[in-house]
């Protein structure tokens, strides 16, 4: 049950008929795993914390470097050389002491990823490499956990949501088959700071929609954003019947309540 203080704190959610007290309670009861406390993870975590998601789990193996502070806004000058997971936890609890935050200052191996995905209501991925995105996809497929994926480089960004609880939902590997090929990342290319802010915030919005059941999440849709020209494209994405990642999960019922 939400306390009087919480009813006040979250009143601007509770005023929304799509969220109401039930939706806010669902957020308080939810556990969200966020992979990567970088440019995308920072605003995603901050909005999820402020929005009253009851339990956040942050995984990131890196320490905060000076070049991160241009965009990774959950970290501050005094976070330099600290583990990102610990720095994020400290600042999220300062934002909202009402919630629980677990810091996992490491890259999760397949077993731990599987355990964490199984315990999570939703998984958010905003890591800087392709292999961890595919690992998150596999863990979400095998545990039937929705996955909100975004990426941003230079002036371009992409976002989609995959929900293995739905038989016709595509997965991340339906979109990009797993491979050793190098995808673009911002270490060599650069990225304009508020772009990751927009997309990380959008990921938090997707999470809130998935948890409260409000509106229509981006399942089966990929959105591409061109920040230089302010243009969004929406492309429909179907499940690929030959996708090696999700084909084996089709027959089994992965739905949870």
């Amino acid at each position: 049950m939400l306390s009087d203080n919480q009813l006040l704190r979250y009143s601007r959610h509770i005023f929304l008929p799509e969220i109401d007290i039930q939706g806010q309670q669902a957020l308080a009861d939810a556990r969200v795993l966020v992979l990567g406390a970088g440019g995308l993870g920072s605003p995603a975590l901050m909005y999820l914390a402020a929005a009253g998601v009851g339990h956040l789990v942050v995984s990131d193996p890196d320490v905060v470097e000076l070049s991160n502070l241009q965009r990774q806004i959950v970290h501050r000058q005094d976070s330099l050389d600290q583990l990102k997971a610990d720095s994020a936890r400290r600042h999220l609890l300062a934002l909202n002491p009402d919630i629980e935050v677990d810091a996992l200052p490491r890259a999760l191996d397949d077993d731990e990823l599987q355990q964490q995905a199984a315990a999570a209501t939703v998984v958010v991925v905003g890591t800087d490499n392709f292999s961890s995105r595919h690992a998150a996809n596999r863990a979400c497929l095998s545990t039937g956990t929705p996955l909100v994926s975004a990426a941003a480089i230079a002036w371009e960004a992409q976002i989609s949501t995959f929900d293995p609880r739905l038989a016709d939902s595509p997965c991340f590997a339906c979109l990009y088959p797993d491979s050793n090929e190098q995808a673009l990342n911002c270490a060599e290319t650069g990225v304009v700071s508020p772009l990751v802010g927009m997309l990380g915030s959008y990921q938090a919005l997707e999470v809130i929609k998935l948890i409260t059941g409000a509106g229509t999440p981006l399942i089966g849709r990929l959105q591409l954003f061109d920040a230089r020209h302010g243009e969004w494209q929406t492309l429909r994405l179907k499940r690929n019947p030959e996708c090696p990642a999700c084909a084996s999960f089709v027959a089994s019922d992965t739905s949870r309540d």
Binding site: G36, G38, G39, L40, G41, V125, G126, T127, D128, N129, F130, R133, A150, A151, A152, I153, A154, W155, E156, A157, Q158, L175, Y176, P177, D178, S179, E181, Q182, A183, L184, N185, C186, A187, T189, V191, V196, L222, L224, D226, R228, Q233, T234, L235, R236, L237, K238, N240
Partner: protein, 110 residues
């Protein structure tokens, strides 16, 4: 000139053939600057034909997005109008006359 600006009856009346338009991730302009700021059009036909038509305008383009067997590289994706293309191997999907072909790339930055 893009056919999309004209109603179909005018196109028929003047026997103008509409050409599919190509839109691509701005990242590709780094490698093929001659395409930047251009309205790139290709003849209607298969995705494969469309990509080879772009290669005429920007030599090396197909080498960049296709592997040595002519299949789409794994970090590249295509959309026709508002749908993502599944046939990454033979590139048989048809790009219609009034269609748009999107070429985009996997991003992993976070």
């Amino acid at each position: 000139m893009s056919g999309q600006q004209f109603p179909a009856y005018l196109l028929r009346a003047f026997r103008v053939t509409a050409m599919p338009t190509v839109k691509m991730t701005p990242h590709l302009y780094r490698f093929f600057p001659q395409l930047e700021g251009q309205t790139v059009t290709v003849p209607a036909g298969s995705v494969k034909e469309a990509l080879h038509a772009i290669n005429e305008q920007a030599p090396g383009f197909t080498d960049y997005i296709l592997d040595d067997r002519g299949a789409l590289r794994r970090h590249v994706n295509l959309g026709i109008n508002d749908s993502i293309v599944f046939d990454r191997k033979t590139l048989s999907d048809r790009v219609p006359e009034d269609g748009t072909l999107y070429i985009f790339q996997a991003l992993s930055g976070g």
